[in-house]
Structures are given as structure tokens and as C-alpha cells.
């Protein structure tokens, strides 16, 4: 962080003017008169602030934002931006990274216990993958550009200098604004396509009780689960609800003051930023478990097909359901509509 300071030349003219402002000639008889009290009815700033929290008035220009004379809530926003948000963000993200590291250290990579079956089962079709990856890519862009607004000034600016950082931030802001639409669309489609599988079902209680088997170092616990296990459901709902919150608060920010006043804008910021960093943390976990953290998991979204054994271990109920549908046979990976 840099502070630029400008030394300015202040001549005695300034002081002379200031003195000229107030000190005037009073007639001699003016001394011994009784005081009037025109201020008796005058509004006091403190009183207005105490009663209403901010000071609003009338203004002749069309910009009605300007009618807010003072909103001390700006100071709250300042401390949120300066300390609350970076702390929450740092704790959430670094905390998550530490948790993952700890998990990895303790549990290691989750292997498919039964090994590969060489039989594949279609888990996500092309549309679903497109949807996922669109949303995911958008999210990553948004996350990076968003985090840049929180941490860039502290972390990146000192490295690349103000001009480069400003240029980068400017582009990243454009990116954030435009890519956000892809994300919003993705979240909506995801909600429509996957909501059915993410409603609570009979396996959830057990899955939660055994923590999905994740904590079983022997890797023998595999609570049954449908197409999405409870952990995935949590990710889904985090993404959907978080995504919707981000979208709504984001739209408020894309159209400043179109739907709300200054305090509403601040709230939108609070919501957007906090949900944003929390979601980054969740998605970090999601990325970990979908890639490094679990053997065979990436393929589900990568190629769309997973090894049958992997599926049986993690989504036994779903596999059974699929097999019932096709008369006990392992469904071929070309099956068009695995979800139906």
C-alpha cells in the first residue's frame, strides 16, 4: 500500500481570507442587547442522526441520492471493507485450506475400496457437464476477480505496481460484470435440472450420522446414497442458495440505486461479499473432493462416466436404481438419460 502525499504551497492569502470571513466591525451599542433565540427551533445534526440514523433533506437536482446529506453508515461500511471482510474472507478460505490439508494429512486420498471394475456407468450427461463447467468456470473467474477487490490491493498491487494493478483490476471488474450472467444462468439451470435429486431422502440421516464415511480411516464405511449424497446435496444447496444470493445482491450492484438506497446498497455489498467468500471456501472443498481428494470422482464431471465400483461405494442406492431401470444389467455408458 502506498500513500502519496502532495506538499502544497499555502500563502498568507489563505489565512488573511479566513480571518476576513468572520471578524467584522460591530457598532458600539451592539454589546448590551438581549439575546434572541432563533436557533431554538433549529434542527440539530446529532438529534437527526440519533432519531433517523442518517440525514435526509430536499434537493433541487434530479439525483435523489444527493438528498442524503449524511450517512454515518459509510463508516461502518469502511470498517467492513477494511477489516471485517478481509478477516472473514481470510479465515474462511485459509481455514478451509487448512482443514483440507488436515483432512488430507489424516485421511489421505479416498480410494475406491473395491478397485476399478472396468465397467463404466454414465453419471452426468453432456448437458449437465456443460452446465456444471460453465457455472464452474464462471465461478472461478468471479471468485478470482471478486477476491481481487478484497485482497488485490494488499497482495497484488505491491507486486505489480499501481498502474498494472489498476489495468488488471479494471479488466477484472469488466469480467466480473459480464461473466456474472453466465454464472447466474448456470445456477438457475442447475437448480432446475438437479433440484429433484437434492431433496432430502431416507439415506441422508444415516449418511450424516456416519459423516459419509469420510472420517473412517479404514475406508470401509460407505453409507448408501442416491444420485447425490448428502455432502453433495450440501454443496448443491450452497451453490444454489449462495448463488441466488450472490445473483440478487449482484444485480443490485450492477444497477446501483435502481432498487434501493445507500444503506440498501451497503447491505447488498455485505451480503455479496460475505456469501462470496464463504462460497469460495465451500467450492475449494468441492474442488478438492472432486479432484485430488477422491479417486475416481473427477471423471464424473470429466468424462461423465464413472467406474461402477466407485459408484456402488458412493451412490449405492443410485446404482441400484439405475440397474433396476435397465433390468438388472449394468447400464451402458451410452445410456442417454441416466437420470430419468
Amino acid at each position: 500500500m502506498r500513500i502519496w502525499s502532495l506538499d502544497r504551497l499555502i500563502s498568507p492569502v489563505v489565512a488573511a481570507f479566513i480571518l476576513a470571513l468572520g471578524l467584522l466591525v460591530a457598532p458600539a451599542w451592539a454589546q448590551n442587547t438581549t439575546a434572541n433565540a432563533p436557533a431554538a427551533q433549529a434542527v440539530s445534526e446529532q438529534q437527526l442522526l440519533d432519531e433517523l440514523g442518517k440525514i435526509q433533506g430536499r434537493i433541487t437536482i434530479p439525483d435523489q441520492k444527493a438528498a442524503t446529506l449524511q450517512q454515518p453508515q459509510g463508516r461502518d461500511y469502511q470498517s467492513f471493507q477494511r477489516s471485517t471482510l478481509p478477516w472473514v474472507g481470510a479465515v474462511a478460505i485459509i481455514g478451509m485450506l487448512l482443514a483440507i490439508a488436515l483432512f488430507f494429512f489424516i485421511r489421505g486420498r479416498v480410494r475406491t475400496q473395491a478397485g476399478e471394475s472396468r465397467q463404466k456407468i454414465l453419471r452426468f450427461n453432456a448437458l449437465e457437464r456443460l452446465m456444471h463447467w460453465t457455472t464452474a468456470t464462471a465461478f472461478i473467474v468471479l471468485a478470482i476477480t471478486g477476491l481481487n477487490l478484497i485482497f488485490g490491493r494488499r497482495l497484488v498491487l505491491p507486486l505489480i505496481g499501481p498502474e498494472a494493478f489498476s489495468t488488471w483490476s479494471s479488466w477484472s471488474k469488466y469480467a466480473h460484470h459480464f461473466v456474472s450472467w453466465a454464472f447466474m444462468l448456470g445456477v438457475l439451470v442447475m437448480l432446475v435440472v438437479w433440484v429433484w435429486y437434492n431433496l432430502p431422502d431416507r439415506y441422508d440421516a444415516n449418511w450424516i450420522k456416519s459423516a459419509g464415511g469420510l472420517l473412517d480411516k479404514s475406508n470401509r464405511t460407505h453409507p448408501p446414497a442416491g444420485r447425490f449424497n448428502t455432502g453433495q446435496k450440501l454443496v448443491f444447496w450452497s451453490v444454489v442458495l449462495g448463488g441466488i444470493s450472490l445473483s440478487v445482491s449482484g444485480i443490485y450492484m450492477l444497477f446501483p440505486f435502481a432498487f434501493t438506497d445507500i444503506n440498501g446498497m451497503q447491505t447488498a455489498q455485505y451480503v455479496h461479499a460475505i456469501i462470496g467468500v464463504l462460497m469460495v471456501a465451500v467450492i475449494i472443498a468441492h474442488i478438492y473432493i472432486g479432484t485430488l481428494g477422491m479417486e475416481g470422482a473427477y471423471e464424473a464431471m470429466g468424462s461423465g462416466t464413472v467406474d461402477l465400483n466407485w459408484a456402488k461405494e458412493h451412490h449405492s442406492a443410485w446404482v441400484e436404481e439405475q440397474q433396476e431401470k435397465v433390468g438388472g444389467r449394468t447400464p451402458p455408458h451410452t445410456a442417454a438419460e441416466p437420470a430419468e
Binding site: 506538499d7 504551497l9 467584522l24 466591525v25 434572541n36 432563533p38 499501481p162
Partner: protein, 972 residues
Amino acid sequence: MLTKRKSGQASRTRLQALTGGLAAASMDRRTFLRRSGLTAGGLASLGAFHLGTVKAADISPPQPGVPIELKKSICTHCSVGCTVTAEIQNGVWTGQEPSWDSPFNRGSHCAKGASVRELVHSDRRLKYPMKLVDGQWERTTWDEAINGIGDKLLEIRKKSGPESTYWMGSAKFSNEGTYLFRKLAALWGTNNQDHQARICHSTTVAGVANTWGYGAMTNSYNDIRNSKTMLVLGGNPAEAHPVAMQHLLEGKELNNANLIVMDPRFTRTAAHATEYARFRSGTDIALLWGMLWHIFENGWEDKEFIAQRVYGMDEVRKEVAKYTPDEVETITGVPGDQLKRIAETFATQKPATIIWCMGQTHHTVGTANTRASCILCLATGNVGKPGTGANIFRGHDNVQGATDIGLDVVTLPFYYGLTEGAWKHWGRVWEIPYNDLVGQFSSKELMETPGIPLTRWFDSVSLAKEDIDQPDIMRSMFVQGHASNSITRIPESIEGLAGLELLVVADPHPTTWASLAVKAGRKDNTYLLPVCTQFETSGSRVASNRALQWGEQIVAPSFEQKDDYQVLYLLSKKLGLADWMFKNIKVEGDRPVPEDVLREMNRGSWSTGYCGQSPERLKAHMRNQHKFDLLTLRAPKDDPEVGGDYYGLPWPCWGKPEIRHPGTSNLYSTGLHVMDGGSPFRARFGVERNGETLLAEGSYTNGSELTDGYPEFTMAVLQKLGWDRDLTAEELSVIQPIGDDMGDIGKVSWSTDLSGGIQRVALRHGCHPYGNGKARALAWNLPDPVPIHREPIYTPKVDLVAKYPTYPDAKQFRLPNMGFSVQKAAVDNGTAKSFPIILTTGRLVEYEGGGEETRSNRWLAELQQDMFVEINPDDAASRGINDGGWVWVSGAENNVKAKVKALVTERVGKGVAFMPFHFGGWFQGEDLRTNYPEGTDPYVLGESANSITTYGYDPATGMQEPKVTLCQIAAV
């Protein structure tokens, strides 16, 4: 890359320029115009700016490294007389600096003053002469325009006589422009010439002059700093004269003074009052008499002052007795105990001053209102001392000067009137034989008959010939610097516009004349002449406190604009009057030299004391502004250039410039020697009436050799006193022929003696040239010798009309004034039921007058983008009107309505609405933007309040009544 700036480097731009950065690329005026796109029409295509769409062209950025020249002129937006300090680079006005040296504004400005640079640069100005051809505006040349106008004028003159041309001049003229315009109308042969004072303070001038001699502000803005009590009745200086508020508020703070505001509206001024009383618009007399009732009842009057210096107060006492607290509360709505408190404060906490503006004047009883105010001052002895007086805030920058110079239907310059003697006096000054002057008129009778006031110009077009006391109806009109939308009854003025054979508008902007002329269906014989602002010419202007200030030309006009002097020269040449007009005035090219014009004025203006303000003295004052005291406005006596002078030589400044009269800062101050600006009341009304003396008794100015009242000085008086021996031979050589002309040298008076000798001798003896008289509480020559309350023409209190009717119908100023019939019809027809809301009009700080020039100033226009009506929350709620929503305001006459935005506010009481009068360019919901010549439409247009205002004329002056009428408001 940002780097730390060293303090040494910081002092650049202007400072560097001042210390001589020479080589930098220079930008002359043409280049700057090209760059800013002005020559190509600039922003002309944009209707109005909208938030967030426009980065306006940089009109005139400072030019680093180019030397800066500082020039001073006077703000053109109100009568405070703020000095404007301009920074000029290469002939371009690139900046404005505070004018610290001016004792009036001390660096300050209001929104308008702080933006006058843009007034000059505005690309919405009229750039070329234009004329209507088949209903379309087309560019023309000055030659063509002047020839076309002149031929038509002469044709109409031949057909209908000189009285059928209306000369509408301007309070925006300099004194010199005013004088030339007045002289041109006189030489053309008509008294149908007028200017904004008609709709501004004509009633003040009539009322106040008829009370104590001169109808002007008695003291000054600065002097209000001395007041212990300030009563603002009918004024809103916070919006109309913001810089005056500096003096009021500082005075209030330093003296712990009372600031009492009485107004139908809770104005921005009222917000700073120590006492505020809301009263019903149009009931000022009842209010003032209500105060006087308490004053007389409690013996708070100044008995000694009344005995020595006031005539006829007993008659007032009789009338005031009728205005009991109950009656006054019924009429005005102000509770008796509050009014008693106000009366006591005004009468006992002295010095007290009464301040007014349009609130008192804009009424059918305007003249009586102002008289009642003066009488309040007289009764309490609040005249002629610091901190007292009638501080009348005039409107325009030179409305005082234009009034003094007689751009008015009732008088020749300087209140000489229209009598044969007056014409002869001016004939001597102009060196034109009296018979030649008579020959210019239709008749000697019309030469001595007041003309038609501009409030009625359209009636003089539309009424039948038989109804007008002159040979023919009005057929042509030459308007130079006057708005059309500041005159009431716009629907009828549109008919008038249709009826005129010729309309000429000479103005920096096309104004609403242009848009309404097209609306009226005019197809041809309509000209727009582009005129300079006062910043593009030089000359003197008079602030409200009667002080003259000389403005320099700040920049030359950018396009084909000509200044007022040039326009009048070209026109008078075309009309064959130039030889008379400029007999003693040098003309350089086509521009008469304003200094010479002022010198001619000096030679003829003895009656008002404009004789001592030579251009040299005025210029010396502008150079030495910093030497004048803030409170007294006087320079130290030992100063070589301006020693002992009051700033701006406020008139009367007696005698020739050489005798160095200091001017008169506070009128009627007997505590001062006449050569220190002391004066008694003017002995204007004779020496006695009905056996009672009209001369002062036991009161005289400090150091006077005559220690009692005395009449005005004539040669006869001098001879009687034996003081004629003090006249020099040179003076006598001037006086003698005048005496011969008059048939008796004894008749030559202080006001007709062109040598200034009589004034000089009177002053030498400590006496005042105009005599030492009493002020008149009873003015026998006015419609109501003692003011009485009269209900407005359109009043919501119909039950009071029987007791307090308006004036009877009569013929005034050549036209019938049917006020009584109109009021009666309104009562009989139940107008107050269909139109239950009182409508009053007034000013906004951002705009001025008709507002075209200020609405064409982007910095101002941005601040008020919509015409509005203020309406009380209760009235709004019962009509389903929301703040900011569109409403129709319908007027009581002509079935007229206006579409404006609602401003729901408690500034106005229940049953009262307020509209600002600066808007124009809309009519009955129709946007007339396309009626302007392309690129000259103001940024902001809106309905004119005067579409809604109604009939009503003060019988003494023809003043309109825009401050009170009735309306109805409904949501759109």
C-alpha cells in the same frame, strides 16, 4: 506514474502565468470557439441534458502559461451590485475570481453571480440576426434587419402615428443604454416606452416618492448591518438577493438583531428569522395598520419626529383606528398578540428598517402598500439614520438606473415628468428646439400624457381603437431586453402577438417572445437581433442603494452580437434621428461612446443628482474599491482620488463633479452636513396645504445656515437670501438664457439650472438644493391619500369584498382599468369556489426574471430542471397529488391550465400555492422548443406562471397583480 510532488513545482498554472510564462501555445478567441465546437452549433442538437449522458464541451479552460488580465464588471442578475472579477486570457474569459475589494459583495456571489462567465459563453445565445420567413426562422444580416425594421416602423408611423409603436426597454441596459433608448423614444415622439420597473417597483417609486421625495432605497444593503430590527415584509432576499443576506445575517449576529419575516410563504429567508408570521397574500396594508394600531395605542410612536418632519399623520391615525386586532386577524390571519409583539419590537428596538421587494409591489394596491410601509417608518422615526429606513430591494442590476433615467411612461429622464417645462429642460440639454420636439408627437397633449404601461401592451393591440386614448391601436413593438413571460395574462398576450404588424426583439437570447410569436402564428415581420450582455460592453449601472458602478468590457462578443449602443445607433440612423441623438455624443464606428453619454446625462440630471458622477469619478471608485468602509461605505477623507466619497457616489450626488459632493448614502439624514451626504425630506409638494405647512419644523441638516424648513432653491430664493451674489459669472451666463426662455430668471431652479450654480451655492450654505420639507403621510394626489385595505381582484375571502372593494373602474394610462367589474364578476360567479387555492408567484435563486438567459446557462439550468408548483401537504393529499408528480394548475381566467410538477411542502400554508415566474417555452402542456431558432432554445423550458395569473392593475402605476390570484390544482 505518480510521484511525490515537490512544493516548488506546485505553484504553477496561473501563478506561473502571472510571473511570465510566455512561450506557451496561445489560443485566441476564434481557436477556442472552434475547439469548443461553438461555431458548429456545439451542443445545439441536444434538447436538454440528462444525468449521466453528457460531458459538455470544455467551454473555456484556463490556458496555462498565458498571461492573465483581470477586468471588473458588475453582475447582471440583481440589484446588489456585486463586482465580478474576470480573468481574461487572449481575449477569452477563462476564470472568475472573488472580488474581495468590493464593499458590496466582499468576494461573495450567489449561484447566478458565480456563473456569469457561462452566461457569456452559453452556446444557446442568439448569434446572428434572425427573422421569420413564412413562419420559419432564417438568418439575416444586420443591414437587412435594420432596413426592414426601419422601413416598417416608418410605414406604421406614417399610417398610424408615432404612438402606435411600443418601445419596451430594459433594466438590463446600462445607464447609458437606458438613456439612449429613452431619448430615442422621445425623439420618435411617444411616451409608450417602458421597462421592467413597471412590473417590479413602479408602485414603490410612486408610493415612496410621493411620501418623501424619491422612490428609492433610502439606505443601503451595507447599512442594514446597523439595524437592531429588520422587518422583511414582501421579500425573500435569500433567493432574490442572496448577497444582501450576508449583510442581514452578519448584522443580525453582531447586533443580536431581530429579523422579522412576514410572508405568505415560509421562505428560505424566514428560516433565519427570529420571528415569522404567515399572512394572507394581498393584505399588507391591514397588517401594517394592525401594527400601527398597537403602536398608537401604546404610544410607541416617535412624536417629535412626526411633529418636525411628517405631514398628515393624524389622518393616518384616524384610518388605523379601524384596524383593531380582531379585524386584522380576520383580514390577514395573523394573531393579535403576535402582531403586537412585532409592532413593539419594530417601534422600540431601534434602529429598525423595513425591507421589501415584489411582495408588496405586485398588487393592485401596490402603491398603497409601499406608502403604508413608509408611514410605519415615519411613525416610529425610523428614517434618516443608520440602520433605519425603507430598504427597498430592487430586482435587476440596473432597474434603479433605468427607472431614474425615465424609461417609464410617466416621465422624461430623472423624474422631470412630462410637462412642458420638462420637455423644454431636456430640449436645452439635447440642444433641440422645443418646437421640433413637439413636432415629433401626434399632439402636444399626448406629448404630456403618460403612455401605456407595458403590463397592458397586448390590450393596446387587442382593444378597439375607441377604447384607447390615442390615435390608433398599437401596431408595432420594439423590445430590447425584456421578457414576455414576466407579464401576466399570457393567453391574451399571445393574441396581442398575433395582432402586431411588426415585432422586434433585441436580446442576447431569443426569449419567450420568439417561442410565443411562432405559437401566435406569426409568419413574418418578426426580427431577433443578437445583443451583447453587459459583460461585452462598458457602462455604468446603479445598484439598489443608488450607487453607480462602472463596468468594463470583459470580452468582445463572439459572434455578430452588437451592444445596446450600437443597436440604438443603427436604428436611430435608419429612422433619421441620429443627428439629434448624437449631437453631443461621440460615435466611434457605429458605437456611441458611453462615457460621452454619461457626460450628457450629468449635464441634465440635476433633479436626481446624477450630475456629479462623471465617468472619471466612477472609474476611480472601481480602482479604489478596497478603500471604502464596510459599514459607512465611505472612503477616508484624505484619499487623493476618492477621498470622502461614498462608494459609487449614490445619488443624489449634487453639483458638477468638480465640487466633489460625496453622494448620499442614507437619504434624509439630517444628522450629516449636506456635503457629507446629509439631506432633509424633499420639499416636493409645495410649501403649505390647507393652511398647514409642508416644510420641516425645527429640523434641518447638520451645519445648515437655514435652521428651519425651506422650499426648493430657485433663483428667486437665492435672490431673496442674497446668495445669488455667490454665483460666478460663468454660471450666470448659463442661468440667464434659461431664465429668458422661462420668462423669469427667478423661476430657474436647482433642477433646471444647467450650470449647477444654484446647487453649488445652496450646498455652500449647508442647505439642500431641493429644500427641506415634510414627508407626507397623507398624499392627496394618489387614489387613496391614506392607504386602506382593499381585497385583491381574485380573493378567496369573498365576504370581505363588500367592505374592502378594489378601486372603481376608471380610465388610466390611456386604457380602461376594469378591476372593479372583474372583481364583482368573480364574486358573483363564485370563482373562489371553483378555484379555491390562492396562487402566488416569486423568484428562485438560480433564475432571474423571465429566465431565458439563466435557463440557457448550463450551470444554473442543471439546478432547476422542472417548472413546479408548491402545494401544501394537506391540499396535495386531498387531491391525490404526490411530491414530484405532474399536476395541472388551472387559472381563473381564459380557461387556461399549466402542466407542472408538484412540490409538496409546508413552505406554503393550506390553501396556498406558489409558482416561480422564471419558466417559459411551454404553453398549456405543449412544449414549444421547436419554436426557437435552431440551437438557441434554453436548456430548461417549462410552463409560465403568468399563463395562470389574472387581471388586476394598480391605478397609480398600472402594476399587474401576479402575487395573488386563484387557481385549482389537480393531478394529471
